[in-house]
Symmetry: C2
Subunit: 206 residues, 2 copies
């Protein structure tokens, strides 16, 4: 045998499957052999579903989250608070925040964060469409919910500067502090320092 695998097609499949994040060659081989063992419909259903991801899913023309129509169910819901917009990096963050059931405003998905190292400039992100939304005048508060990294902070700062022409728009960001359920012992110094500086009035929450 030229290679370790007895079939060229198995090799191609292992290669493609192992391109998925978090799936190594060994796991990819296991998945390929599993697919091979199943009925034909198994592979077909999987592939149809994956291809439909690319052909059928739309992105909301207002907030850029994924949607089955031109405007997503959040932007199209009249009971949501259109005066508040939460700026997030990606679609997954929208799902996470929605899952908390704590937020009734709208979103704006940037599609990434500014990263000179990875070659992501403000032009690559959904920033102009965000400024356009603010210009419409309905937005009263913008919440930055970007990752707590240099890139996330850079992006927040860039947006903050771009919003300087709108003095009526309040700009806030997610609180940074000790995680719920965390021991202080395992909280990093920067977070601890921040949570001390941003301390809030004591209240009893369940």
């Amino acid at each position: 045998m030229n290679s370790q695998l007895p079939s060229r097609y198995l090799e191609i499949a292992v290669n493609e499957i192992s391109k998925l994040p978090g799936i190594g060659k060994k796991n990819a081989l296991r998945l390929a052999l599993h697919i091979l063992k199943q009925e034909d419909s198994y592979a077909k259903n999987l592939c149809d579903a994956i291809m439909q991801l690319k052909t059928e899913i739309h992105f909301c023309k207002k907030c850029h989250t994924i949607s089955d129509s031109d405007v997503c169910e959040i932007c199209g819901n009249p009971s949501r608070d259109g005066s508040t917009v939460c700026v997030v990096e990606n679609v997954k963050d929208v799902l996470l925040i929605e899952h908390t059931n704590q937020y009734r405003g709208l979103y704006h998905v940037l599609g990434g964060v500014i990263s000179p190292i990875e070659g992501v400039s403000p032009m690559d992100l959904n920033i102009e469409s965000f400024i356009e939304r603010v210009k419409e005048g309905e937005i009263r508060e913008v919440i930055f919910a970007l990752p707590v990294t240099t890139e996330g902070d850079t992006t927040s700062f860039y947006l903050y500067k771009r919003l300087s022409g709108f003095p009526d728009v309040k700009i806030s960001m997610l609180a940074r502090g000790v995680s719920v359920g965390d021991e202080l012992e395992y909280t990093d110094e920067a977070t601890l320092a921040r949570s001390l500086k941003d301390r809030v009035a004591y209240s009893v929450t369940i």
Copy 2:
């Protein structure tokens, strides 16, 4: 939103991807969003490779391992020892044994093991074709390399009985004992007892 996910197609994709072994719903969502973010060719290459698994891969008509042709490269290799056949549960076991570089004989892939609980009877396995191979008269030794489970042992015993008509064929099985690198402390009693009973003459190996 009716469901947690903002798109029906995303939901279908998450469902299908999470049918893969070892991939939960959360991981499937991560993979689906990753695929969605990539170029169209990414999903296409992945799906082409998966579909080709089902359409292009053959099974060797002699030993039933996967192959790009009717007879696999192992069975078709004249320098392999055709008098020895190693009986394994599945294709992955062939790859594992090949990887040791210790075996020069041929294989026979059963495609499973006898399991009354899961409804797998001898008829569901590649057993008749194995007996046919033995009948041809070339095989001098059969090595059972089946899992060390009740099902594996049952299958070995069934094959042993079926081979009773061939007194010239030597029947062996993989040695069972303490794993290389294992402390005795962490070896289960059954294995330890077996390794004591099957003790071998002391020799120095590197």
